[in-house]
């Protein structure tokens, strides 16, 4: 296999209902960094029906080229037509790197495509770099340069591994949503648009979609939330959770809680974080009035950023918090909500 034939950093530009998902922009932001290190360009792969008009938006967030596969078969996500489309793009255009979001779509599409094009896939990456493999030269073993080094947590976040794919192309990774930064929008940017259609023929692998049911409420599973505002017994009453809900709303987050809150009947079980509840890894976890029992910590310590507010300065939650504030949550939380609201209004 001529690995040097494979060039460019490619991104699967996920869209749902003809609206680009946030992960598409995040991947483009990272792809731009990688492309710079490799002295190459960034290509977005856009699959769907009547999606060509989304190409400008991809250009505005860093795509130099957009490969569009526009076909009625791709209207709603199904593994097979999407895998066929993406695998055909890979075989035709030979990317060096192929990034896919670690979403409910990407974690289905990624493995199927990687198996089809016979390459490796590293799941749920939280960091991507260009570097050498092996990272330190080993006598008697060729050290390859400009490899994609993919870093991911494993063992429930207790270990961190950096993985390379030195002998197969493309180097494929799924990337955890909410980790990479999108670039500032470049108004009026245009990408080179390449239309491609490998042809779609139904076979035994095509499934039939009988029904699509969208979630009626705006309550996202706390495991999927990017920002969690979590309350403990220190919040004082079920009514007082209102101040946490207000903070969550300003930040576009969700409210969750500790076991004590569920045991008191203040909140339902599906909002409980911890060993007997859910394990969450949001970008930001506010622990408000939560003492931080080890069972609670086990369910949230992998959060990227932990902010604790508690009146007890010896509360164990401060041992895992990145930023701890000792004080009265009844004063601090509403004031924080107001300050963030003002801050966000300034930006718009």
């Amino acid at each position: 296999m001529g690995l040097e034939e494979y060039k460019g950093v490619y991104v699967f530009a996920q869209q749902v209902d003809n609206k680009l998902s946030g992960i598409a922009f995040e991947l483009l932001g990272k792809a731009k960094d990688l492309a710079k290190d490799l002295d190459t360009d960034v290509t977005a792969v856009l699959l769907g029906k009547d999606v060509k008009s989304l190409a400008d938006e991809l250009a505005a967030y860093g795509a130099d080229k957009v490969i569009v596969v526009d076909d009625p078969a791709l209207e709603t996500y199904r593994t097979e037509p999407y895998a066929h489309a993406l695998a055909s793009v890979i075989n035709e255009y030979k990317p060096d790197i192929m990034l896919v979001g670690a979403t409910a779509i990407g974690r289905d599409l990624g493995p199927t495509v990687s198996a089809r094009v016979a390459t490796g896939l590293t799941a749920d990456c939280t960091q991507l770099d260009i570097g050498d493999f092996p990272m330190v030269a080993i006598p008697g073993q060729e050290q390859k340069h400009k490899q994609l080094l993919m870093t991911r947590p494993a063992f429930g976040g207790n270990t961190i591994a950096t993985i390379a794919c030195p002998d197969n192309r493309p180097q494929m990774a799924t990337v955890r949503p909410g980790v990479m930064q999108k670039i500032d929008k470049i108004e009026g940017a245009k990408a080179q648009i390449i239309e491609f259609n490998p042809g779609f023929e139904e076979n035994n692998r095509y499934v039939e979609i009988l029904e699509v049911v969208k979630a009626v409420s705006d309550t996202v599973d706390i495991m999927d939330a990017k920002i969690l505002v979590s309350g403990g017994r220190g919040v004082g009453s079920p009514e007082n959770f209102k101040i946490l809900e207000d903070l969550a709303e300003v930040l576009g987050g969700q409210v969750s809680c500790s076991r004590a809150v569920v045991d008191s009947g203040w909140k339902p079980k599906d909002l409980q974080v911890g060993q007997t509840g859910k394990t969450v890894r949001p970008n930001v976890y506010f622990a408000i009035g939560i003492s931080g029992a080890i069972q609670h910590v086990a369910g949230m310590e992998e959060s990227d950023l932990i902010i604790a507010i508690n009146k007890d300065e010896d509360a164990p939650i401060f041992d895992v918090a990145d930023y701890g504030v000792v004080g009265d949550l009844n004063k601090i939380v509403p004031a924080l909500t107001a300050a963030l609201k003002a801050e966000l209004a300034k930006k718009d």
């Binding site: 593994t79 591994a161 950096t162």
Partner: protein, 260 residues
């Protein structure tokens, strides 16, 4: 109807996570369990057995001690257990694991293959779809409900903000979420029978249509460049200010981190 369930023996990272004094994971002290998503998949298969008289075969790839997880499955009600174990299969990534399991499954008849969505040690969610790809089967990931409809299977497929009801002609492969069901307990009689039950053990020679270049560490396209037990993070900053200063402090931190 014949159902194959792929299961994995994993360290119990939930209840009994043990740490060494330096903050690294103490693997030797950890118990092993049947991977939770796989157990939900097994329960789904056992319900098909209850309802339609399906024959349920559990298969695992691992060290010889992974036999325990097959006996547990049989004590819950599975009919057959197959252990795929061989020195040459060690160090496999998801690609090499899926080629191995596909190679083993090619020996078997089946209408449905059920795997867990992901294992709690690797969290990749890759092996199920990759097995389907090697076997040329339709795959439906993230199953929350499974029903049989004639020669097809109807699955409630979960996404972040919606679900799809999806119908696939069998044979098909489904990856199961823990939310699918509450797995049954082993029965005393089941445990007793499972102790004596015969477990089929297969090695490299039993794998059908798989090249050596796709097996084990050598056959794994992904290579570990560096691995470290994550040192648990220590406490960060703690401030004790008045409410107004506290708010200014937090807003500043959130801005630094590009949250707002």
């Amino acid at each position: 109807m014949k159902v194959i369930v792929c299961v994995k023996q994993v360290p119990d990272t939930k209840g009994g996570v043990q740490f060494n004094p330096d903050g690294t994971l103490n693997r030797a002290a950890m118990l092993t369990i049947m991977n939770p998503d796989d157990k939900a998949g097994l329960e789904a298969a056992l319900r098909l057995k209850d309802q339609y008289g399906a024959e349920v075969t559990v298969i695992t790839m691992g060290l010889p001690k992974a036999e325990d997880v097959l006996r547990e499955a049989m004590a819950m009600g599975a009919d057959k257990g197959i252990l795929v174990t061989d020195r040459v299969l060690g160090g496999a990534d998801t690609w090499a694991t899926s080629t191995t399991l596909a190679g083993a499954i090619r020996n078997l008849e089946y209408d449905l293959i059920i795997t867990g969505r992901q294992a709690i040690d690797g969290d990749t969610a890759q092996v199920g779809p990759q097995i389907a790809e090697h076997l040329g089967l339709p795959v439906i990931s993230y199953a929350e409900e499974i029903k049989i409809d004639g020669d097809s299977v109807v699955v409630k497929r979960q996404y972040e903000d919606r679900y799809h009801m999806v119908k696939a002609k069998m044979p098909a492969l489904i990856t199961a979420l823990s939310e699918l069901n509450d797995p049954r307990y082993m029965t005393p009689g089941g445990i007793f029978d499972a102790l004596d039950a015969e477990i089929t053990t297969w090695g490299r020679a039993n794998l059908v249509d798989v090249d050596d270049s796709n097996l084990g560490l050598k056959g794994s396209p992904t290579k570990i460049a560096k691995a470290s037990d994550k040192v648990r993070k220590g406490s960060g900053e703690k401030v004790n200010l008045d409410a107004e200063e506290s708010v200014a402090y937090l807003v500043g931190k959130l801005k630094d981190k590009h949250i707002v």
